[in-house]
Symmetry: D2
Subunit: 409 residues, 4 copies
């Protein structure tokens, strides 16, 4: 492509219409295998069991965040906020790459296969990319991502209670699931943003919209992200991977493509990922397809536990979940466990796979990292001080629920 004719690329996006990319570094990063891998990592994991439309990927989400970053830069500049070209590009890069370290069914992998948080891998990959794209914007992107950049509003756009990551995923997940109650006006939120002393603030007239944003997010958590069926199926996939690992170590072969086998055979920790070429290479080769393709085989494995767990997920005979506001009392726990033990005597000694007692949390608002509101009179206040809804909801700003999971007899 000759430079003279270089006009960028337009990507169709049902959420925003079009995503335009006119910067060559961004285009090149999008084409990079690190980023292309995200085409095969589904954004919402197993939520598609409940919401069949929810098949979109981290790839599309990351493009969406990058798009919102570009829009935010335009909007803020229109309002007179000074943002340099390197900062603008750095922000877009940070948006594009913020999830680049996600693995398949991310939390499952993180819990079952290797104990490394996806943010750590994202940072690692961004540093590798910096070697290939040694420019100031890339440097800024990394500083924004790890919150060390001196202008905090840029960091807040990538990670904060009103960041554009959330704006995109709420809008996108709402769009693809069809849960319209989760749709938020990302446009409106952006139009209401401003910058005061390099901090991100919301104009006073935007309070209702921000309340709405936070409540929509809460609703999406209860209704989608921590929907009972989703919790149940995500536990299952973690258990399946754990058991596959165990089965292999017990000396029984399990079907797996090499990159998955690597993680089943090895205990990989964060240092391995940082230092071992192998670990990272295999990680970069692994995606949702490998897990599903393998799991289908495992449903026929002669190890009863592995086949039971895998079959339960594959045939959607998900574990029963009881979810409540208070912890389960000892008596109930004993009763349920007993019930499971009786119904599944063949799994005695494997009860950790069959009976789970855990919690989920839904955070409406973090008071320790407040959203700043700029009043019409110029004053700056925390949202929870000026919103009558937020101040009334003090006791539900963070809600915890308790659940137990076990197979249906």
């Amino acid at each position: 492509m000759s430079r003279a004719n270089f006009q960028g690329k337009i990507i169709n996006d049902p959420v925003y219409g079009f995503i335009s990319v006119h910067n060559e570094i961004l285009l090149s990063l999008i084409d990079h295998p690190y980023f292309q891998r995200l085409r095969h990592i589904s954004q919402m994991g197993l939520a598609q069991l409940v919401y069949p439309g929810a098949r979109h990927t981290r790839f599309h989400h990351a493009l969406g965040v990058m798009h919102l970053m570009q829009e935010a830069v335009k909007t803020l500049r229109d309002k007179g906020v000074r943002i340099s070209d390197d900062e603008g590009l750095g922000l877009s890069i940070a948006g594009l790459l913020h999830d680049v370290g996600h693995g398949p069914f991310s939390h499952a992998l993180e819990h079952a296969l290797f104990p490394v948080q996806h943010e750590q891998i994202s940072l690692l990959l961004m540093r590798r990319l910096q070697e290939q794209y040694p420019c100031r914007a890339m440097e800024i992107a990394i500083e924004i991502f790890n919150r060390s950049y001196p202008r905090p509003f840029l960091c807040s756009l990538v990670s904060g209670q009103l960041d554009l990551d959330r704006a995109d995923y709420l809008l996108r997940d709402s769009f693809y699931t069809g849960v319209v109650e989760g749709a938020i006006g990302s446009d409106r939120i952006m139009k209401l943003m401003n910058v005061h002393n390099d901090e991100l603030v919301i104009e006073e007239k935007g309070i209702y919209s921000v309340e709405k944003f936070l409540l929509a997010r809460r609703l999406m958590y209860w209704q989608v992200y921590i929907h009972k069926t989703v919790i149940s199926s995500e536990h299952l996939i973690t258990s399946i991977l754990k058991r596959a690992k165990e089965t292999l170590r017990e000396g029984h072969d399990v079907f797996a493509p090499p990159q998955l086998r690597y993680f089943l055979e090895n205990d990989v920790n964060v240092n391995d990922m940082l230092q071992m070429h192998d670990a990272l290479e295999h990680f970069l080769d692994l995606d949702d397809n490998d897990i599903i393709s393998a799991m289908k085989q495992w449903a026929k494995h002669k190890d009863e536990t592995l086949s039971f767990l895998s079959g339960s997920l594959w045939k959607r005979k998900l574990f029963r979940i009881e979810l409540q506001d208070d912890p389960f009392d000892a008596k109930t726990l004993r009763a349920r466990k007993h019930l499971v033990e009786n119904a599944f005597p063949q799994f005695s000694g494997k009860m950790d796979y069959l009976f789970v007692n855990d919690t989920v949390k839904n955070v409406l608002y973090q008071q320790d990292n407040p959203i700043k509101v700029r009043l019409k009179n110029g004053g700056i206040r925390n949202l929870d001080e000026v919103s009558s809804i937020m101040s009334s909801l003090q006791n539900v700003l963070e809600q915890k629920r308790y659940y137990i999971l076990y197979p249906r007899a």
Copy 2:
């Protein structure tokens, strides 16, 4: 579930809002493994390489068609058309199951792995299901599907130029790709349908909407279904599967889950599928995940052809495509072939994989199976007689284009 409380199921669908299912047979068919398999067969194959939102599945499409069938029954009954309960249910079943025989990347499999059309497998599976659900509605569904039911309008709703399969896929594919020009008012089309002597007709005032529907479909073909990149990538996957089969037969092992290996090792024809339990079982176990997971391995295979083809798709180094209105002349073909042979001497003898000369067709309107229009005066006419657009487009009702494909040097 006790009968007293039976109230059906509601499925979120971003396209229609909600899909309600209140009939127990429909619910049971949806839960059947034959149908659940479609969760892992993507509706638009490799179009997601161009349109990253296009990740929806045959599962969701089939639910959508079933939904439209239910709506059509209500709409036509409101207009005074008599439709029995068994016919209504049969129509919904036919809508639900019309694509149940699709394999992964359907045409690729059909061309590369076994020469059986998906309609034949759909029919086969519907007959199997009839054994489990031996009711009149199921019988009617099969008759509607194979066009032997005596009331033709029911068959036309499932398969015809204005069928609800097309209505759903145009609407859904347009929705997920973000190519809004393809969106058609399925509501409007249905509201304009009527029945005359048991034939499906369109009211005269609906002519513009039908013209619009046909032209939107044509646009979706050029812009999406037979987009250059889509053609190129679908050829590649066919070639990859063919070469994998060949490689195996040449005595080199290739990585594959058993159900894929089965089709690589065996030449399965339509009779095998009908008669051999094995063939069908393996088919039912195979989905997109297996192909992608295997193909990733093949990109590293020591067989140069297999790894070249697989790597080309995986790394999106797609073959170059030249597309034109007229056949390529012999001179051009020779020149291009020569160019490829020179650039890839290692593949001499494998040129069939590297150089393709083929055609695509875009049918705007089939005159031999006309859309019937009921004029205000009661007369029935063919659409191409009463639409000035359609009659003017006689010479482009069917457009053929010629293309050649070859790897970039």
Copy 3:
């Protein structure tokens, strides 16, 4: 139209796609002059000054409510709720006619021209229509409207905290204003409704959606219905009409079409409306166009007060509004009044027109008319008992705000 061909009517509606009417009484009521009058009564009064898209009418809203009633009947019947044909039709009629008594800029007229609530006129008109359509469904419609029908859930669908009037106006007003945060899933709400002992209930899993509905309604109040500019302009139009009446009585002619002049010249009360043919006839002839057309002339009237008020609205020099959570203290009130008196000495003695001290109320949830929730275990509870959000918001279930209004000096 011959009966044999009678197939009803389809009305385009951007909110629902299409509104179908297949019943002849409904069609006839829609064509009735009482109902057609609503084509010229704007749904949102002067909110179009802030939201230029908000030009839709009571006519369209009433059709929307009728449509939702038809859908609710289908949905509830699908769930096994018995609803007779007369009840179904009666419900649709009640939905269609619930606002038929609205006058132009309804509250303005109600306050300024004659002290009759629109519900009373709606009921009066429904009774007149009953004489022309003497059928059981019409009788039921009236009983549903005045809440005397023995099956309360039917009354609740027309008037209650989750009625379909609200569902339509929230959705429609959100659609036309572009305030997407107010959009509620009317579909979802309906799908979650059920009937228990002839009372309307919401399924437990619908709690989040109902919370969302209530909070969206609250947001629409603050952001749209009682937006500062809207309050200010609605006060102005009331004042303008009052002053026009007074001016006429002071012996100065004012331009007005006869039906408006009638109400300027006469003090009409509820009995007049019920008993005097004249009053009702003139009322039925009056719409938004007359008020706006007259007001434009009044802006040039020689009565300084009338022309000042009319000009302020017409030229959008709206009064300044100060809005706060607590009552204004006496000192502030005195200060502001003094300021106005000094700036507008020509209006001494007319200060009631120039200085307003009043309140607005936003009711999130009415505890005395609770929304009933049916728990999964079958129990029935009030929403504010089972929703952690609602129970936390006890102190903001009803919010009052205080405002003063006065012309900018």
Copy 4:
């Protein structure tokens, strides 16, 4: 508003989400009474009789066009097209003011009250505004509007076969009517535009989208703008105004606000509008409300013709319309006329009001002002040469239909 804090204005628009205005001249023009008048001129005239949602105004449309102009400038600059700040602002002003000369029910007024085209009045008003805003951008706006600006692509964006006026009205009218088939991707069209030698061109890959745009426009004409009922009611309003004028001149008073009376009493021509302060002042005071308010009175006028015509429109007893592809033959015309004369003997001598024989035209594509396409190879061609659809539709590029109108007996 202090300059330091000047941050522009955000207007809610359901079509685009938000319309942002950051330029002070634009803001000031929007607030100008010339422009505010458009709040009371409905965009689609009487089409709201068929499409009740179609209540939007010229005000909103003009804001929409201004918005698209702003977007087009950004898009084209992103592609490397040089557009100066004055040109960018001038283009936005031209978009904002292109319809500022529209009168109520524009064509009715133009035909019935005074023979001046709205473009002439727009130009006149723009020149008056230039006196108040004497800047280069305003000058450019006028040159763009009257097509004398030396860079043709700027003129083409305001007026041409792909201008943004059309883009907005198709999208907006489709949105508010609910005729989704008319929706066009304004985003897509803009993304596909480019500039070659200062001429507007479309990239080759945009051919399908442009075909779609033209066909959607054609559909909107047949289905909405020249819908039978719309034609019939627009003829009526013209007749009503003509007859009101005549009645007044015959010495009978008719109710009318002064600004309407002025045009009923005086024959105003283009020079009067340009030279007489009075004529323009009255014109600027006149809007839809005045016409409707007056017409309601006229429906009770003692002049039988005036009351018959006004009543026909007000009570929606619209004249019957027969529409066909060929001219009506003399025999049919005589027969219909005879029928009307017999049915309405009281209107003998007024048959011009009761019987109309006229034509409508729907132009799909203007070959004499072609859309330019830039091929991938760099060549520039006319759309009708490179689009197989357009070249096949040669004989329907412009369609004329013939109709007669007369009251139902």
